[in-house]
């Protein structure tokens, strides 16, 4: 189909590199430094910081937990909150994001709350889970379209940042390794070709 072809043409080199690095087992984080050079945003308001560890207030961390747990909720395995993803996002944004990206993320959280207020008349933390899911599905579609079509060098979408850190925080947590996926510290063998039943979990990688 021509739409497939057009989409392929639109893939930027950065996306191609991300694809390769993903294939090779690494994740190029969108919020991390060099990939986002050149976006002009003001400095982070450090008055937000109330903890010695992160730039986030406790209420921010709770919001992040609520968002993460909506992206990756409890199913037959625990969800993102149980895996400590909210505090993980706060730590990663504080320690690994450069200031312009931190600013995008903070502004994004405010945008998210504003949308939630105008749609449902209440903050994200208190609206029903169906409303949370609906709002985040809209934001996911928004970030997906934006990320596939953005100009080379344009900043990442704040919800892509949150989603990415949620996935990283969850799937590299002990819950992610041992419950969502399968993990053996010492496989002890390499079997190059074994049957895979539908729904069978991934083997999580050690390194």
């Amino acid at each position: 189909m021509s739409s497939d072809h057009d989409r392929k043409e639109m893939i930027t080199r950065r996306e191609a590199i991300l694809r390769v690095s993903t294939m090779l087992g690494g994740v190029a984080l969108v919020g991390q430094s060099a990939m986002l050079a050149g976006c002009a945003v003001g400095p982070v308001n450090r008055a937000r910081a109330t903890s010695s560890n992160t730039l986030f207030m406790q209420s921010d961390v709770e919001l992040l937990d609520d968002i993460a747990d909506t992206i990756l909720p409890e199913t037959s395995t625990p969800g993102a909150r149980a895996a400590g993803v909210g505090p993980f996002i706060a730590l990663m944004v504080s320690d690994t994001y450069h200031e312009p990206d931190q600013q995008i993320l903070f502004a994004g959280l405010e945008t998210l709350q504003t949308k939630c207020l105008s749609l449902y008349g209440a903050h994200f933390q208190v609206v029903a889970s169906a409303q949370r899911l609906s709002l985040l599905e809209d934001l996911d579609a928004e970030q997906h379209l934006y990320m596939e079509t953005r100009e080379e060098g344009a900043p990442a979408h704040y919800f892509r940042m949150i989603k990415e850190l949620t996935l990283l925080g969850y799937f590299t947590s002990e819950i992610g390794y041992r419950q969502a996926m399968r993990y053996t510290e010492t496989p002890g063998r390499f079997e190059p070709c074994v049957p895979l039943a539908p729904g069978e979990k991934s083997w999580a990688r050690h390194a």
Binding site: T70, L72, D95, A180, E185, V194, R205, A207
Partner: protein, 561 residues
Amino acid sequence: MAEEEYDAIVVGSGISGGWAAKELTEKGLRVLMLERGKNVEHVKDYINAIKGPWEYAHRGRRTTAMERAYPVLKRDYPLNEKNLDWWASDKDSPYTEIKRFDWYRGYQVGGRSLLWGRQSYRWSDFDFEANARDGIAVDWPIRYADLAPWYDHVERFAGISGSHENMPQLPDGEFQPAMPLNCGEELVAERLKGSFNGRRRIISGRTANITRPLPGRTPCQYRNACWLGCPYGAYFSTQSSTLPAAMATNLLTLKPFAIVTELTYDRDRRRATGVNVLDAVTEKTVEYTAPLIFLCASTLNSAWVLMRSATDVWPGGLGSSSGELGHNLMDHHFRVGASGKLNESSLEQKYYVGDRPNGFYIPRYRNLFGDKREYLRGFGYQGGASRSGWERAVRELGIGGDFKDEMATPGGWSIGATAFGEMLPSHDNVVGIDETKTDKWGLPVLKIDCEIGENEQMMRVDMMNDMAEMLEESGVRDVTTNDSGYAPGMGIHEMGTARMGRDPKTSVLNSWNQVWDAPNVFVTDGSCMVSSACQNPSLTYMALTARAADHAVNELKRGNL
């Protein structure tokens, strides 16, 4: 004191230094091995080896504080949270880049043998004859036949797993059983056999990870966490392999924190007499003497030591009478290739168990067997096929419970490979001493002036397009090419700077790795290389070191040193 008397001094404890220490002590010499960095004890000091991946605060990722502390290391993957202690500090040990050169160093006992990629390939006479055939630089003073028995020797002891393929450009060796290709790789390998006259072949990577036990070492457990140090000793490192052998002789003394600042030289006898050492902790200096010296401090640092030695005779240092000391720096250029999707119904319900620290290899085929390109030499590919993991979720649309559960199962198959290309030696690619800048210990640092040339640039076009062509020919879908850019040094395969040769006027070392102007000094790390080939070089350093050690002991006994 008797304990301070040595028959030989080995400078450096990485792959080459470890082999020198093993071979010399096993031949009965009392050896002092000097290492500039800290000690790392086998297993005991692999502090992160059995840590759960979730136990790292940032799950292994780099922080902005780390980026500030490591302005060079941050340029590529080595800057990470898991084994940062094993990468040299950019702040303590700066250097000068006339042109960008990424220098990734391991300053500890074991050097980069703890961190290396472990791919191990023999060179062939296509490589040893290349300079003579092309009229480039100088001829290698040895041929494959000179090195073949030593490849046998080091492969047996180090433990190289690989398959016998009978390919003249990539000689077979004394291999342990190969790690197999997975079913995605096997499928593409089979299809590729029918194309390109069978000249382009996917084989299992030959790797210094053992698949059968060796003394004191357990076979690979398929954790693929080698660069944290292996508690099983399953990959070759100084610690797992050569150091225990040398220690078992009771003839080895290992001194960490010993920075060799120069070789001492007797101009009348035309022999080195020993080394001057700066203690990295106390900053005291001490001289050690011995009738034999193996300089294995790594390509750039061995050149630095030579440049600072015998300067009263030659202002440019020991070996500079050739005019080639510090010149002809090489690396392998890479970070270019292709990948695509393996949408095969036969693979949909196939998976693999265990994480193999290896992949596939496509040996060089360009400019061989009648193929002729615009450029000289060639390249090989390293790659792999795999099913995607949760990482694919980042780019996919979707949130919620079903999405989460799906992302915890294996995604589609993909396959890709990166090319490693030969870099021609050039007199203009040179390192020297920058007298205007010093390191933490007040020692002048190296300045590096190196770039790839037109030959490499032309080669990179093939390196990218050939892979896409092979994948498409094999039925791989959605093939995309990539070129992530390359700066010299990124391959961490530094070579040259003190090349071997047949003539003291144009080479620093003779055919036995002896410095022409000081035959009791053997240089057997990457600095001795006359060309770079496209195969990973470490196995060749091992073989050259073992061969040189044998010669050195024979010459010592004959009284020729």
